[in-house]
């Protein structure tokens, strides 16, 4: 292999236009003993390429990669504590919702005083209306309940009219 051919090939090599076969020729030349002194500096480069091409991954490469990309999970006691606290607070809000009290005699002013009936339906029957969520019944008879409501409505109505009258008098 003459120096001129090698120099031409080398020129092609720098342009990245050489074929695999030509690169193999170049590598063989620089490995060989009869080097042109002009080309001596390149011999080291090709020796380096040769050396690097022999490097192969170790058998534990896959394991090392996996270890590197698997997130380490520390058990976060702080977060656990926070979550538990929130849970306790939320649970407390529901549990300590004013419970339907047991009936006490003498509280209500009707013949059926003391007969309170906790209403299991109220919790979901009145959509989003917390004011009714804990209402218990004084009466267990709808007629008596109606009479009481009518009476109360009349009282409220009387006051309402009084109030309106006062406002319009001013």
């Amino acid at each position: 292999m003459d120096t001129v051919t090698i120099k031409a090939l080398l020129e092609k090599y720098w342009q990245a236009e050489t074929t695999v076969e030509e690169e193999r020729l170049l590598a063989a030349y620089f490995k060989g003993p009869d080097l042109d002194p002009d080309l001596q500096p390149y011999a080291d480069l090709f020796a380096y390429f040769e050396e690097e091409s022999r490097v192969s991954p170790g058998p534990d490469l896959e394991a090392r990669i996996l270890q590197a990309i698997t997130p380490v999970r520390h058990f976060r006691w702080g977060m656990m504590a926070a979550a538990a606290t929130v849970l306790v607070i939320v649970a407390g809000l529901f549990l300590f919702e004013p419970a339907a009290p047991a009936g006490g005699p003498g509280v209500a002013n009707s013949a059926t005083a003391g007969q309170r009936i906790a209403d299991p339906e109220t919790g979901n029957s009145t959509t989003g209306n917390s004011a009714t969520a804990s209402v218990t019944d004084t009466y267990d008879n709808p007629e008596q309940a109606l009479a009481a409501v009518r009476h109360a409505l009349l009282v409220a109505s009387v006051h309402l009219n009084e109030g309106r009258k006062q406002i319009s008098n001013k």
């Binding site: 926070a82 209306n129 004011a131 209402v135 004084t138 009466y139 709808p142 009349l154 009219n161």
Partner: protein
């Protein structure tokens, strides 16, 4: 740590919201079994049961008003009425309830407050006090004030006077 702080703040805020939401309910529940108070409450379930009652003697306005109600509660006492009046006013969340009518002075001292969404009144609260007693009344439902006002207007004056006297037994 920042997240923890945010969660705690949210939890506390939620607790407050809840507390405000049911201030009147808690006021009722606090005195529900108190011997000094007379309590009458009618649940939504009982209002539904009223559908089976004979309504023949009931006027159309009353019927309409009652069918639009969900629950009703009244709490009254003759003992230290002004103290309870003050307490009730302090408990009411002013963000939720707005004053409708306030009458002060004379022998009657009362307020109407409403809780409304848009043009619909969801709750009418009446707080009345005089030297003889304190009354807190809450109607929850869809309340038509004009209709409510007509209920008494239909009655004669004598009937009204009796009613007012019978209010506190």
């Amino acid at each position: 740590m920042k997240r923890l702080l945010i969660i705690s703040i949210l939890a506390i805020a939620a607790t407050n919201l809840h507390a405000q939401d049911d201030a009147i309910g808690r006021f009722f529940n606090r005195y529900l079994d108190d011997q000094r108070f007379t309590v009458v409450s009618v649940s939504p379930r009982m209002f539904r049961l009223m559908a089976k009652v004979n309504w023949d003697t009931v006027s159309a306005d009353v019927k309409q008003t009652v069918t639009h109600l969900q629950s009703f509660r009244i709490l009254s006492t003759e003992i230290t009425p002004y103290a309870f009046y003050k307490e009730a006013l302090a408990v009411i969340d002013r963000k939720q309830y707005e004053d409708l009518i306030m009458v002060r002075g004379g022998k009657d001292n009362f307020r109407f407050m409403i809780r409304a969404t848009g043009n619909t009144i969801n709750e009418l609260l009446m707080i009345a006090v005089d030297k003889d007693g304190f009354t807190l009344m809450s109607f929850v439902g869809d309340i038509d004030l004009d209709r409510l006002s007509r209920l008494a207007a239909d009655m004669d004056i004598k009937g009204l006077e009796n009613l007012k006297n019978a209010k506190r037994k």
